[in-house]
């Protein structure tokens, strides 16, 4: 049978059916075309984004925290990358063998590892900041669910010696104490990010855009001299140990520039290993602690008297009685020397003499001097927690208070304030602003007293360290030294503790052209000696001698061995 002649083919279908089919198919194509135009032309963001996410990645660019160096470029704090191991507890699967290895590598007890990995959180740190080599070995264990993060850890090669100046950073590399906190914005880097194209193998094949440039933190050169700092720390440690003292502090200033060349405290801590830290260890006594300075304040009282023209160094002060009664209180001198000149009041550190000088002065003049040299206001260092000390307004002073303030009681200062105030005597009456960072051009000082008065005070302070003064042990062979001792009862529960003292010494050398100002404070020496001249002055002498030699300062005195006065004939100052 002929196929073409099939009667089925002869059937005539209605025309509308084929038309309808054509219209439907055409409509379907139109919808598809419309959709295609919409997706690829009009609203293509979404798909493009999806496509990009297959090959483009945003990479974090880490930034380094700036290094801290001393004034000669020696590294004091450096950040270096370390790894932190974290886990998603649900996904972790390990054999007991792997667990043991992991625990050993992380130096954690196996039970601790188990405990952390059984927590019901979706994220847990196993151990932070481990060295990269160990992290490498942890990843070799190939435990699923265990991940590593790159972090930075700060190392302090100076350890406990520099701890208080530098401070330290926390786990996220942000400053928490000291310079690290004070200069956080300078030191901290800003991490950046960029978008790249990665191929199948994970290799970067093209840079697409830089979203944010990474900014490394800037390096910071401190005023500190590492060599001098070590010397100061070692000598302070020796003195605190041999005097069985509770604490000690020392600060070395450059009299020419106002830079802090060394600053040490005891007790101290190791910033590289900060487990078990006590508040006493962390305290930067030089800057944040105040104490009643005692006799180290007498030169300021005398400076007021001489500056006003009321007295000269040769003026006589009637101290023959050895005591002075003001109202109900009586001030005593430990020794009676008869009447003294103003210079001898400083040399022998007579309380009665200082009190008598003070009572001849208007309170506002004394307050003015204390205020101008920076007592009662925190030094502008930018250092966290810099103490301002206590200086009451002169309108509230009673005569007895004015008298005791003349020899440093009823007023409190920090060791740094005290050292800074002495730059006035070391620099012909000019008070220097202090700086913890290296100063390239010396800052301008502030003239507080006339150069003539400053020179007179300098001569008096030189007498104090000679035989016949309170601190012959502060002398340095080959250099003329000037300085003043201080010994004060400690304040406790609103009164003065009977047998607790703070011994201090502040001085400068060479006296002909002072280069360094050093202030030493020993808290509660309890090995018998407690006078500033016996406890603090030897530290001053050792540090000053070593420092002047290191700095190559020419001697200004004959190189004769020093002779100490025989035991028990030294002039003890009044407490």
């Amino acid at each position: 049978m002929n196929y073409a002649a099939s009667p089925v083919l002869a059937l005539q279908l209605p025309l509308w059916r084929s038309r309808l089919l054509l219209a439907l198919i055409a409509g379907g194509f139109l919808v598809l075309a419309g959709r295609a135009v919409y997706l690829q032309g009009l609203n293509n963001d979404f798909l493009q984004q999806k496509g990009e996410s297959r090959y483009s990645r945003v990479l974090e660019i880490s930034a380094n925290r700036g290094r801290i160096t001393d004034r000669n470029g020696e590294a004091l704090a450096i950040s270096t990358p370390v790894k932190s191991v974290w886990a998603i507890p649900e996904e972790v699967q390990y054999s007991s063998q792997q667990r043991a290895k992991l625990a050993a590598l992380l130096e954690l007890p196996p039970q601790e590892v188990d405990k952390r990995l059984n927590e019901s959180t979706s994220f847990v740190y196993l151990k932070r900041q481990i060295p990269p080599e160990i992290a490498e070995r942890v990843s070799e264990l190939q435990i699923p669910g265990l991940f590593q993060n790159r972090e930075y850890r700060r190392y302090y090669p100076g350890g406990e010696v520099m701890a208080h100046v530098l401070g330290f950073t926390g786990a996220d590399d942000a400053g928490q104490e000291g310079i690290e906190l004070a200069f956080q914005s300078t030191l901290a880097g800003k991490s950046g990010s960029r978008r790249v194209i990665k191929d199948r193998l994970g290799q970067i094949v093209e840079d697409m855009e830089s979203i944010r440039e990474a900014q490394n933190g800037r390096d910071l050169a401190l005023a500190l001299d590492a060599k001098l700092q070590n010397l100061a720390f070692a000598q302070l440690k020796l003195a605190v140990e041999s005097n069985k003292a509770k604490a000690g502090a020392i600060v070395v200033l450059d009299a020419k520039t106002g830079e802090v060349l060394a600053l040490a405290n005891l007790p101290t801590y190791n910033p590289n290993n900060r487990t078990r830290l006590s508040g006493a260890q962390l305290r930067n006594r030089v800057i944040t602690d105040t104490f009643e300075p005692g006799s180290t304040l007498k030169p300021f009282t005398v400076a007021v008297a001489i500056e006003s023209g009321k007295l000269t160094p040769e003026s006589n002060i009637a101290t023959a009685a050895g005591s002075l009664t003001i109202g109900r209180a009586t001030i005593h001198d430990a020794h009676r020397f008869g009447d003294m000149t103003v210079a001898q009041v400083i040399q022998r550190s007579s309380n009665v003499g200082a009190a008598k000088i003070a009572l001849g002065l208007p309170p506002d003049a004394m307050w003015d001097m204390f205020d101008k040299v920076g007592f009662g206001s925190a030094p502008r260092l930018g250092f966290p927690g810099a103490a301002s000390g206590k200086l009451r307004p002169h309108k509230t002073w009673r005569p007895i208070e004015q008298a005791t303030m003349a020899y440093g009681h009823g007023i409190s200062v920090s060791l740094l304030q005290l050292a800074r105030a002495y730059t006035m005597f070391a620099r012909d009456g000019e008070l220097m602003p202090l700086s913890l960072v290296r100063v390239d051009a010396p800052l301008a000082g502030k003239q507080v007293i006339s150069p003539a008065t400053a020179r007179k005070l300098r001569d008096m302070l030189e007498l104090a360290v000679e035989p016949g003064g309170t601190a012959p042990r502060a002398r340095v062979m080959g250099y003329r030294v000037a300085g003043k001792t201080g010994t004060a009862h400690k304040e406790e529960n609103g009164g003065y503790a009977e047998h607790k003292y703070v011994s201090s010494f502040v001085g400068f050398a060479p006296a002909s052209d002072p280069r360094l100002v050093i202030a030493v404070m020993i808290d509660e020496p309890s090995a018998g000696q407690y006078y500033g001249g016996a406890v603090a002055a030897p530290v001053f002498s050792a540090v000053m001698g070593g420092a002047l030699r290191m700095l190559g300062v020419s001697p200004d005195a004959p190189l004769k061995p020093l002779e100490l006065p025989p035991e028990n004939t030294e002039i003890k100052e009044d407490v």
Binding site: I78, P81, P157, Q203, M477, G478, D513
Partner: protein
């Protein structure tokens, strides 16, 4: 007409192949650059660690201990010190 078309086709193919090759080269070079930059970063880190190590070895306390104990050195006292003053007049001589 057909000849021109053929020439254009050949030129186009050549250009396309050239583009592919240069793109490939660019990516390879970029990957190399990337590796070198990574290495530079690595070296920077290593430098930091070496600096750290140097400062640790050069700790003053350690140097002094070795000088005193192993090398038996000591600070000369003033009796054995000769000061050489600079030739220019200084205010020290008084």
């Amino acid at each position: 007409m057909a000849r021109i078309n053929l020439i254009l086709l050949l030129a186009l193919t050549a250009c396309a192949l050239g583009l592919v090759t240069s793109q490939h080269k660019a990516r390879k070079l970029f990957a190399e650059l990337e590796r070198e930059q990574e290495r530079a970063k690595q070296l920077d880190v290593e430098w930091g660690q070496l600096q750290l190590e140097q400062s640790t070895w050069a700790m003053h306390a350690r140097v002094e201990k070795i000088a005193r104990e192993r090398l038996r050195m000591s600070t000369p006292d003033a009796k054995r010190t000769q000061m050489v003053m600079p030739a220019a007049p200084t205010e020290v001589t008084r």
